[in-house]
């Protein structure tokens, strides 16, 4: 590329540093709020679309397929038992730093839901298809960490 060549003057590489000083505030929304509030009471909620019978966990305000609105009547508690769908042993955190202790992450198919749910896997010898159950945290505030994981 001629253009490229012509511009390969011996320029010092310079750059400007900058940040992005914002804080985001994400509301959990209509369905999210119900889900997180229930976690405080050790309840796992799913909701089911009447038209296609698909069950969402976490629940959704609408069925993405039928586009029906999923109102209060569509929510019900599931028992927290699940099947291990997939897992990974994680050695690095989101910044690329090595974790002191590797973390086991699982994908769970909860009984009573059609979706897959991600959380910590609290077993020493994981096997896909194994039966697991939710473990609750002592201190619950309405966050995803109200669950410790599945054992």
């Amino acid at each position: 590329m001629i253009l490229n060549k012509r511009n390969q003057h011996k320029l010092p590489t310079t750059s400007v540093k900058g940040d992005f000083p914002v804080t985001y505030h994400y509301t959990a929304g209509i369905a999210g709020e119900k889900f997180f509030l229930a976690l405080k009471d050790k309840k796992l909620l799913a909701n089911t679309c009447d038209s296609c019978k698909f069950s969402y966990l976490p629940p959704k305000m609408f069925c993405e397929d039928c586009f029906d609105e999923l109102d209060d009547g569509t929510y019900k508690e599931v028992d927290g038992t699940a099947e291990l769908f997939s897992y990974s042993e994680v050695f690095y955190d989101h910044r690329g730093d090595k974790l002191e202790k590797p973390l086991l992450l699982g994908l769970f198919k909860l009984n009573g839901s059609s979706t897959i749910f991600m959380h910590n896997l609290l077993v020493s010898e994981p096997k896909i298809g194994m039966k697991v159950k939710v473990v609750w945290s002592e201190h619950r505030v309405g966050s995803i960490f109200d669950l410790k994981g599945f054992e």
Partner: protein, 166 residues
């Protein structure tokens, strides 16, 4: 027509509903590139650099590596005077983060002398002037930081001030 949506007060939004707060920890490192590197180096040397396009026969600043008009490469860098005229200005009481200030900042677009289109210049600040006296078309001159304090940044020019009648 029934429109929907759930209105939250500031208190509900910040303290009542379930929400997650997150401040992304991102730092950027933007390469200044071919043309702006020259421009910033020029500022460090106390000069305003422009660039000339052969096919359009025009000089513009800030310099760019290519002419957005005729799409030819641009590589004839020229030194421009550090004077110009006020193209437009504001008397601003609102800062970047939307907080308010008592003493206004005076942003202006300065049309740099020696360029061949109008306007051709950049955003900067005015000072040493009573805000009420600022006028579009007023001649201004750059006030530079001391050479030792210049780092190759747009802020190497502290501000522009009104030129005394020559």
């Amino acid at each position: 027509m029934k429109v929907r949506g759930t209105k939250l007060t500031s208190d509900e939004f910040h303290n009542k509903v379930i929400a997650v707060k997150h401040a992304p920890e991102i730092e950027y490192d933007w390469a200044t590139g071919v043309a702006i590197s020259k421009f910033l180096k020029g500022l460090k040397d106390g000069k305003i650099i422009g660039v000339y396009c052969d096919s359009c026969d025009r000089t513009v600043t800030p310099p760019r590596m290519f002419c957005e008009e005729c799409f030819s490469p641009m590589s004839k860098y020229v030194d421009l005077p550090d004077t110009g005229i006020i193209n437009t200005f504001s008397i601003a009481y609102i800062k970047t983060d939307a907080s308010r200030v008592e003493k206004p900042q005076l942003p202006a677009v300065i049309d740099i002398d020696g360029t061949s289109i109008s306007p051709s210049g950049f955003l900067h600040l005015l000072d040493e002037i009573n805000p009420d006296d600022i006028k579009i078309g007023m001649k201004v001159k750059a006030v530079w930081k001391d050479a030792i304090d210049r780092t190759g940044a747009i802020t190497d020019i502290k501000y522009f001030k009104k030129m005394e009648d020559a």
